[in-house]
């Protein structure tokens, strides 16, 4: 009797292992990064495979001692053909020169990540073809910088320069480079080069003199000199008669550099260029905080947002935007906000906005170190 039972089980297991194995017969494993061949050509059938499996594939290459990586989303692919993804990268005086081997447009947006060998201490950068801006560049990376560019149209050659190096009027329009369908009329980009300078006339916030040495009662470390002091939400008086504008953007390009850590269920949520909300001019009323405006913007645009009130910091905490939550891409991941190039060291409900400020919500996978946050925790 026992023998019969055992043999029955063994046959069953054998049968099951056959059915389990029969599904996998592909030659190219899309889950691992693929090293580009010498000539950089990616064949049509590989792209078709990415498209059919709706996979996210990465191709890595090297030019000199600079590594680069292409991330291609299967959902973005339509008509495919052989494409040449190899690049020639050269460091110039101020930035990086990129020469594409491909001559025609790719026909789909692909994310190009250039891994520099040192840290580039700039907030943002733009790629220029001569004097016209072609791509806007998002900078991530902890110890060494990673330049993320969403490439759709191919130019023969371009130079990536930090944003404060060029005059603002030649900055690119977001629509063309980021391939964004919405907000064509009210998008505005990177006019932020002179933001560090002055205090606006209609700004009655208190600025830090940098003399404080202790934490305040909500555990906030001294605010650096010249930065606005927090305004407690209960003291904020919203004056609906006075309305100003500021620029809001939400992006998560760091996830694209850390796709291996991402919760697999969340993969399809990540936009292929990392942009959830392209820089958008929004109206706000005097006295409103970053949190108030974020909540309104997300509601208007139908972007999912979850926050929770944290009494010890007297501020709302942003748990997730666009269903991308804290800890979804590694233990050190979550949402941070930057106003005029500075990551405030207090919560977004305590940051009172002033006219013309540029607010960027960025997803970090490394406690802010990969999105250009300075200093230690």
């Amino acid at each position: 009797m026992m023998k019969r039972i055992i043999s029955l089980f063994l046959t069953l297991i054998l049968l099951l292992s056959f059915t389990a194995c029969s599904g996998n017969f592909a030659q190219v494993d899309l889950k691992e990064p693929i090293v580009l061949s010498e000539d950089g050509i990616v064949e049509k059938n590989v792209l078709d495979k990415i498209k059919n499996e709706n996979a996210i594939a990465t191709f890595t290459g090297k030019s000199g001692d600079i590594k680069y990586e292409w991330t291609i989303f299967g959902s973005d692919l339509a008509d495919t053909r052989d494409v040449n993804l190899s690049l020639v990268l050269e460091e110039t005086e101020k930035g990086i020169k990129v020469k594409f081997s491909e001559t025609e447009d790719l026909g789909f947006p692909a994310l190009l990540s250039i891994h520099l060998n040192e840290r580039w201490k700039v907030d943002g950068a733009t790629a220029f073809d001569g004097d016209t801006a072609v791509y806007s560049v998002s900078i991530t990376g902890s110890k060494t910088s990673i330049l993320n560019i969403s490439v759709n149209k191919i130019v023969a050659e371009c130079e990536i320069l930090p944003d404060n190096e060029k005059a603002p009027e030649s900055t690119p329009s977001t629509e063309s480079s980021l391939n964004d369908k919405d907000d064509k009329n009210d998008t505005e980009t990177n006019k932020t080069d002179d933001y560090l300078s002055d205090v606006k006339d209609n700004d009655d916030r208190v600025y830090s003199d940098g003399n404080a040495t202790d934490q305040d009662k909500y555990k906030t470390d001294p605010v650096p000199e010249g930065k606005p002091m927090p305004v407690e939400p209960e003291d904020q008086e919203i004056d609906k008669k006075k309305s100003y504008t500021c620029t809001f953007s939400i992006e998560c390009s760091t996830i694209l550099n850390n796709l291996a850590d991402l919760d697999p269920d969340k993969r399809e949520l990540v936009p292929s260029n990392g942009v959830i909300l392209a820089p958008t001019k929004v109206t706000f009323y005097e006295g409103e905080s970053v949190f108030d405006v974020l909540q309104r913007v997300c509601k208007e645009k139908g972007i999912h947002l979850e926050s929770s009130w944290t009494p010890i910091y007297n501020s709302a905490y942003i748990e997730g935007i666009h269903n991308l939550y804290e800890f979804d891409c590694g233990e050190l991941s979550g949402w941070m906000y930057r106003v005029n190039g500075w990551y405030p060291n207090y919560g977004c409900s305590r940051y009172q906005l002033a006219d013309g400020e540029v607010v960027e919500w960025r997803y970090t996978c490394d406690l802010g170190n990969d999105v250009g946050r300075e200093g230690t925790w």
């Binding site: 039972i5 949520l269 999912h304 979850e306 269903n323």
Partner: protein
């Protein structure tokens, strides 16, 4: 109500059955699988307990499912389908409601399975199965499983004894009643601690858990138990492989995605249903046999 003949099977089969159904009820969150488990758990509980469990279902289980479906979205705002916004700005999402509903169904299913488990797996069966392998743990388990009903019985005894000497919890001023209640509670705690020590000492003095100790048992592993074991083992392995091949795959967040119902996945659901309904089928079979035997006489 029919006699539960499944509880007359070998304890190992009883235990294996409950281990499987409880395990799969916990692991599978596909609504169809959950529905199958819920229906079978209800049927079995009703076939064992009759009216009492119908009442339990309507009185506690139904509100519990509705409650979790309402409570979950209040704390969980994940999900891509935004229905409306709460006053604090967080969204109410369809996914969180569905998840709350599914969690409620799972909770009720488990409650029903455990109520049947307590009926079928009496403490003597439990000790018989695990007394030799894990003596200390199985004694603790069986004692703690028995604790609540025993405590309740002792409680009423003590209350009545106290009432007979004039210390009634329903009599006197609030202060007096509280005093009496505290006194009864203190008696109960003392009793419980002492009883536990006594039980442990008593078992020790009988050589419980010692090597070479034999135990009297009335359980025989006969032919029908062999067939049942093969059946349960087959179901367990088949469903385990189905889970590994994600035939029961279902996710609620960030948006609902599930494994399609087709020729490759439907057999797994059929087997799951067959596994869960096994004791009810055995009971009906036994009942029929009994009736035919009766009519022949």
């Amino acid at each position: 109500m029919i006699r539960d003949s499944f509880s007359e099977y070998h304890p190992f089969n009883n235990f294996l059955y409950f281990a499987l159904v409880i395990g799969f009820s916990l692991a599978l969150n596909h609504p169809l699988a959950q529905g199958i488990a819920l229906v079978c758990a209800c049927t079995y509980a009703i076939s064992i307990d009759g009216k009492k469990s119908v009442l339990f279902l309507l009185k506690y289980c139904l509100p519990m499912v509705i409650l979790t479906a309402f409570i979950n979205p209040a704390f969980n705002h994940e999900g891509t389908t935004i229905l409306l916004y709460f006053s604090n700005g967080n969204p109410l999402t369809l996914e969180s409601i569905l998840y709350g509903f599914s969690a409620g169904v799972m909770l009720v299913t488990l409650l029903l399975w455990f109520s049947s488990f307590n009926r079928v797996m009496t403490s003597d069966k439990f000790i018989y199965l695990f007394g030799k392998v894990i003596p200390a743990l199985s004694l603790v388990l069986s004692m703690s499983l028995r604790f609540v009903p025993k405590f309740k019985a002792q409680m009423s005894t003590v209350t009545e004894a106290q009432r007979s000497i004039g210390r009634d919890v329903s009599n006197g001023s609030l202060w007096q009643r509280t005093k009496t209640a505290i006194l009864i509670f203190s008696i109960m705690i003392t009793w419980a601690l002492e009883n536990a020590i006594e039980t442990a000492d008593s078992m020790k003095s009988r050589g419980y858990g010692q090597k070479g100790r034999t135990a009297f048992s009335i359980y025989r592993f006969d032919e029908r138990d062999q067939y049942t074991l093969i059946w349960l083992g087959f179901c367990g392995l088949f469903l385990l492989s189905g889970t590994l091949l994600s035939a029961f795959g279902f996710r609620y967040f960030p948006n609902v995605r599930y494994a399609a119902l087709d020729m490759t996945t439907i057999p797994f659901y059929c087997v799951y249903f067959a596994l869960c309904i096994t004791p009810v089928v055995l009971n009906i079979k036994e009942e029929r046999k009994w009736k035919t035997l009766v009519s022949k006489m």
